[in-house]
């Protein structure tokens, strides 16, 4: 077993952190932030009323669902680890929930809890072993782990339907067959998830997470049980990923391994990276960006990917804090002009 002391991905690697929190501590900024949050929620709630187009509603639902996945991954990232297996845990949640609904005819709420619990259980099994690794090796291990989980979905045909997946998944409840209803349902789930994550991050747990990420050795010597904390957060985040997967399967009425592969894990990571990894708002911006952008650029399928790739390079090379840092920089620039 490797040293538990080896440092995790250091703040330096993830870009300057804390700038945002420091600002957020100011009372004035607090109000601005609350107003922004309120405006965002109001916009999301009124979104379906702006137009009657169900396509935009579908987009809204997909954004809301991926917010769950991205913010839950953000929790793991805030402990200093970047999981490339998150979509695998989504898949575990999705398959278990769908199988409980379809094979055992359990009510959706129970099955959803079952799916989340299954993802959490797997995380609890794996977490204590893999979370001992330093950040970069953790990336590599989860990269392969996600692939193994996907391969299990493909191989275990009797349970998962193999590559052909399981189709004809009913709406969670008859009322949710209606797109508007499902949108609000997904939105509520996303808000709950974001609220929960925000609460964790602003609590003493969040402070301990920041300590562990910034300097695991010092944190441990202050009595913070680093591994235990990281496992706890990993388990919670994977359970939320399971919820994401289960809701997505019930939204698409279909589940197959191709939704839970490398590319999907990567998407969740990219959402965090583009939005900014140092604040919970990052993955939310990232989810909106990554779900909407491909739709805006749909006419230029190949070009879209090229542009997308270039954006990734630029963000990682010049803006390690993601879009969030861009806004912070612009603000600083404006402030320096004014003074």
């Amino acid at each position: 077993m490797t040293d538990t002391t080896s440092e995790t991905v250091r703040v330096g690697e993830l870009g300057p952190t804390g700038a945002f929190e420091r600002k957020a501590q100011d009372a004035g900024n607090h109000r601005v932030r609350n107003l922004l949050i309120l405006a965002f929620v109001a916009f999301a709630a009124l979104w379906p009323l702006v137009h009657e187009n169900t396509f935009l509603l579908t987009m809204g639902t997909l954004v809301a669902l991926s917010v769950i996945g991205a913010t839950s991954l953000h929790l793991i990232i805030r402990t200093g680890h970047i999981s490339f297996a998150h979509a695998g845990f989504m898949g575990v949640g999705a398959y278990v929930c769908v199988l409980l609904v379809m094979k055992l005819q359990l009510p959706f709420a129970v099955s959803l809890a079952g799916g989340a619990a299954a993802a959490a259980a797997l995380a609890l099994l794996i977490g204590p072993v893999v979370l001992r690794l330093t950040g970069k090796y953790f990336v590599l291990v989860t990269f392969l782990l996600g692939e193994i989980i996907r391969m299990v979905f493909v191989e275990w045909t009797s349970m998962t339907g193999g590559s052909n997946g399981i189709f004809g998944i009913p709406a969670p409840y008859p009322a949710l067959a209606e797109p508007h209803a499902f949108y609000y349902f997904a939105l509520a789930a996303a808000l709950l998830c974001v609220g929960f994550c925000a609460r964790i991050l602003t609590s003493e747990v969040g402070r301990a997470m920041d300590s562990v990420r910034e300097s695991e050795r010092v944190a441990q010597c202050s009595g913070i049980p680093a591994l235990q904390l990281k496992v706890t957060i990993f388990v919670i985040a994977c359970a939320l990923a399971g919820v994401h997967g289960a809701l997505l399967a019930h939204f698409l009425h279909y589940v197959d391994p191709s939704s839970f592969g490398m590319v999907d894990s990567l998407n969740l990571v990219v959402m965090n990276v583009i939005g900014g990894m140092n604040h919970l708002i990052g993955p939310i911006i990232g989810s909106v960006f990554l779900t909407i952008l491909p739709e805006l650029l749909r006419g230029y399928v190949e070009l879209q990917r090229v542009i997308f790739g270039i954006i990734l390079i630029v963000v990682m090379a010049a803006l390690p804090g993601g879009i969030l840092e861009l806004t912070a920089r612009v603000r600083r620039l404006l402030a320096s002009r004014r003074s």
Binding site: G18, R199, S203, E204, E214, S215, R217, V218, C221, S222
Partner: protein, 260 residues
């Protein structure tokens, strides 16, 4: 004076190489013990072994009469044994106060569910931690820089902050790993005063350094190690005259010349 920390036969082997071999010493209540030795003597390994960062290959560490050999650092911290680090590892992007608050985790943390719901117990703990931190910052005259970003402060301040973080865990013994490495003479004197004041709080101190002048002006007793082995133990003045120690520090020829 009762024994607080007892180290017996501590050994650590790295791939056939003995970094620390069969080292024994003890630290009494409210003592300042110096652990000195030339560069590469295995001093930091000793700290790592005692503080649970590295597991010993053999030997025993007892703290407050409890066997704590190989115990994880956070569990040792709960028992009152806390260390600092040689490099200035503070949370560089945070304020001084926030750094100290993080050190006060044991006072502060009310449990997972309690903190999420911010229960009255959680509030009480937070108030206690804030009081502790304010008192510590006050006591070490850091209140004026409490809202400064730690990484932007001079080196000496950061070293002191490292000690504050350790003290915030309310230890009964602290292990200081090279607290004056890289500091100016003036800053070194300040840190020495700080450590002396730490002892006045009833805390036992183990200091690791290779700076003999600093150690001899500070410690009640010193343990000299070289090549992971104990060379001498005793009061600073006696130990520093020991030819074996002089040889280890200054080389054989110098020791021979002095002996003549």
């Amino acid at each position: 004076m009762s024994t607080l920390l007892q180290v017996e036969g501590l050994t650590r082997v790295y791939g056939g190489l003995r970094a620390v071999g069969d080292l024994s010493f003890s630290v009494g209540q409210n003592e300042i013990l110096g652990l000195i030795g030339p560069n590469g003597a295995g001093k930091t390994t000793v700290v790592n072994l005692v503080s649970g960062v590295v597991k010993p290959s053999a030997g025993r560490v007892a703290f407050k009469n409890e066997d704590v050999t190989g115990m994880a650092p956070h569990l040792l911290a709960r028992r009152g044994l806390v260390r600092t680090f040689q490099a200035t590892v503070v949370y560089g992007d945070r304020t001084v106060r926030e750094n100290a608050m993080r050190g006060a985790y044991l006072t502060l943390y009310p449990g997972f569910v309690a903190t999420l719901f911010d229960t009255p117990a959680a509030k009480r703990k937070r108030e206690a931690a804030e009081a502790l931190v304010s008192e510590l910052l006050d006591w070490l005259e850091l209140t004026s820089v409490a809202d400064t970003i730690a990484g932007s402060m001079p080196y000496g301040y950061q070293k002191t902050l490292g000690i504050v973080i350790a003290l915030a865990a309310r230890p009964s013994l602290i292990l200081l790993d090279e607290p004056v490495a890289g500091l100016s003479a003036h800053e070194t004197d300040q840190v020495r005063d700080t450590i002396k004041r730490v002892r006045e709080r009833g805390i036992t101190v183990v200091v690791i350094d290779h700076n003999m002048r600093f150690i001899s002006g500070l410690c009640d007793r010193v343990v000299v190690i070289a090549h992971g082995q104990e060379l001498a133990q005793g009061a600073p003045r006696d130990v520093l005259r020991d030819p074996k120690v002089i040889e280890a520090y200054l080389g054989k020829s110098y020791a021979a010349a002095r002996a003549e």
